[in-house]
């Protein structure tokens, strides 16, 4: 299967549409063989009839099967109806060759944010189960489901990105194609490759980039993504389609980490004392090397809560590293945190591992931010310990969490994720939205923790914390129920062998 992925053509009469680049790119595309061309939205700049008509004329000239979805710009001026009249249904399923292509309209009228409602969510689910024997599964959706870099402060993302990503991963979708950000980006998450296209012919490129499109080849055992820029440069990534399934050679256990968040210690019903006390007993019996608390230590940043938290946390007989959530720093919280638990960025290092905290909190808000300067400082520090197994931890999640509304809580999550992955950070620990979740993005394993002892939590397994065992050859993440100590494996990944 060889497909051409174009996006964000932005047909229009204003200066946003670059006609010359469009014509040149289309000429390049027609010279090659493709099984299908997939356009991931923003066909037009403002959803107007004459521009849909013009786009259709050009697409027809391609003479190739075309799958096209609307973007937020097509939804302007009531454009979805016109879109459907000229370019076909905005949502649907197509079988081309041995590939199932599900295309979904995530645009909302006169709003740049994306949404996939219940009916469409079910459409995807049903489509995935209706063609169980097709070996290739592709989803096209304008808005990205995982944060992408160079997005500036725009952190709007699909509100149910966590559930969508979970659905894609559990059904082994091979390829998810998106646009919107006008910046090409590729990630492999578990066995799914998520590709963002740049803009084909819009003038609003980002960070000095030029117009581009992607070529994707899905072979029996690998997926090849090539970004082709109008300046002639090509960037290629290759990914195996399968993940390791069986783990029998663990090797030595190098490190055992306890990973927790949202203990929400306070007097009152929000804090589940029994869950906390049982969890502490379990933790003390696990022979862990280190515990990491990803924030949400107290319910409020007030002396009463901090006094209790200090007494309660002291029961853990393993060294604990902390990073505050916004909540921990409210009111007098910032002072109380440093007084009770130490600096806002903490670290642990031995000859084998380097664990480094990253402060993402802001006062009086659940929204987090790192900022470019912080990020650069952080990663230059991580570079200086590049031979160690490198763990970073912060409060805010950087990949979407299922069962939670993805509010894009960390303003620069796209840049942080890209950087962590590119720098080869081995493990990222976070603790927002109170749902346990683990996935591997490229070679970086990203784990979110559930609430350990707060009545507000989202796991069907109940309040829990994570146990992360790092062996010579693999990494095992389990969730341990706070109250009962029952253990459930959340994920396992082989470790890339590094040359020493």
């Amino acid at each position: 299967m060889r497909l051409c992925h174009i996006s964000d053509t932005h047909f229009g009469s204003g200066s946003h549409f670059n006609r010359q680049v469009f014509v040149d790119s289309m000429l390049g595309i027609t010279k090659e063989h493709f099984d299908v061309v997939i356009h991931t939205g923003d066909v037009t700049d403002d959803g107007r009839l004459e521009h849909f008509r013009e786009a259709k004329k050009h697409f027809d000239e391609l003479g190739l099967p075309l799958v096209v979805i609307p973007g937020n710009h097509d939804a302007r001026s009531g454009g979805i109806a016109i879109f459907e009249e000229y370019l076909g249904p905005a949502n649907g399923v197509k079988v081309i060759g041995d590939a199932l292509i599900i295309h979904i309209n995530s645009a909302t009228p006169d709003n740049d944010d994306g949404r996939v409602g219940m009916v469409k969510f079910n459409l995807i689910k049903e489509a995935l189960s209706s063609y169980p024997h097709l070996p290739i599964k592709i989803v096209a959706i304008h808005h990205h489901v995982i944060p992408i870099p160079k997005a500036g402060r725009e952190r709007n993302i699909l509100s149910n990105a966590g559930d969508l990503l979970d659905l894609f991963l559990r059904n082994d979708v091979d390829l998810v194609l998106s646009g919107h950000r006008h910046y090409p980006n590729v990630y492999k998450v578990e066995s799914t490759v998520l590709v963002n296209a740049g803009t084909l012919s819009g003038r609003k490129t980002r960070y000095g980039d030029v117009n581009s499109y992607n070529l994707v080849e899905i072979e029996e055992e690998q997926v090849i993504v090539e970004t082709r820029r109008i300046d002639g440069s090509r960037e290629q990534k290759r990914y195996p389609r399968r993940c390791q399934s069986f783990f029998h050679d663990f090797g030595r256990r190098e490190l055992r980490l306890v990973h927790m968040s949202n203990t929400m210690i306070t007097e009152g019903r929000v804090f589940l004392k029994k869950a906390f006390d049982s969890a502490v007993n379990t933790i003390n019996s696990l022979d862990a090397d280190l515990a990491i608390h990803c924030g949400g230590i107290v319910y409020e940043g007030i002396p009463e809560d901090y006094n209790l938290a200090k007494r309660k946390m002291a029961k853990i007989k393993v060294p604990v590293l902390y990073t505050p959530a916004g909540r921990d720093t409210n009111y007098l919280g910032f002072h109380l945190f440093t007084q009770s638990f130490g600096p806002v960025t903490q670290q642990f290092a031995n000859e084998w591992v380097h664990v480094q905290g990253l402060a993402s909190f802001q006062y009086d808000t659940t929204i987090g931010i790192i900022g470019e300067t912080e990020r650069n400082t952080f990663f230059s520090k991580m570079r200086s310990v590049a031979s160690a197994f490198r763990v970073m931890f912060l409060h805010h999640n950087i990949t979407p969490v299922p069962h939670a509304r993805e509010r894009g809580l960390l303003e620069d999550s796209g840049d942080l994720l890209r950087r962590a992955v590119d720098e080869g950070i081995d493990l990222v620990l976070t603790g927002t939205s109170s749902h346990p979740n683990a996935m591997q993005v490229e070679n970086t394993v990203i784990v979110n923790a559930n609430s350990l002892s707060c009545i507000y939590q989202r796991s069907l397994f109940g309040n829990s914390f994570n146990l992360i065992d790092i062996y010579e050859h693999c990494l095992v993440v389990s969730e341990i129920n706070s109250l009962w100590g029952a253990r459930r494996i959340v994920g396992m990944w082989g470790r890339a062998q590094r040359e020493s």
Partner: protein, 143 residues
């Protein structure tokens, strides 16, 4: 069998979403004591028996109880002496209804699952009747 399962979920779904795709294995020449230790270590009740990278059997804690302890066999008994080695493989696209049918017909509670010709996981009877697995998705965007 499939008809006697309460119709609480969609049994026409492909089994794919219920397959455990990450499994812990043990060299089939190792002892059942090693196997038991591994089960305790990870708090699990079954292991995949392997010869190199090849899956050759399946071992549950019930096998150890029934075929080793109750028979008075030593803990040095090897995994391949007591493991279930008659494994049936199904395709990952098989519908839950048909998977339950195979389990009932052959009287087995676990099946190997292959995806495009390669064994990539296991599905157990418990996975299929675990209602929570069917409830996993929510629809936050309903608002």
């Amino acid at each position: 069998m499939s008809n006697s399962v309460p119709n609480i979920y969609d049994i026409d779904m492909p089994v794919r979403a219920f397959v455990t795709k990450r499994l812990i294995g043990i060299d089939s020449k190792k002892s059942v004591q090693d196997a038991a230790k591994l089960m305790v270590q990870f708090d699990i009740s079954s292991l995949v028996a392997m010869e190199g990278e090849k899956v050759v059997g399946f071992l549950t804690d019930a096998d150890i109880k029934r075929k080793v302890v109750a028979q008075g066999l030593p803990t040095s008994t090897t995994v391949d002496q007591v493991m279930e080695s008659h494994l049936i493989t199904i395709d990952i696209g098989t519908r839950v209804r048909d998977v339950l049918g195979v389990m009932s017909e052959k009287n087995i509670k676990h099946l190997l699952v292959e995806d495009r010709g390669v064994i990539t996981g296991i599905v157990t009877f418990r996975d299929l009747i675990d209602i929570e697995r069917h409830k996993l998705e929510t629809y936050i965007s309903r608002e």
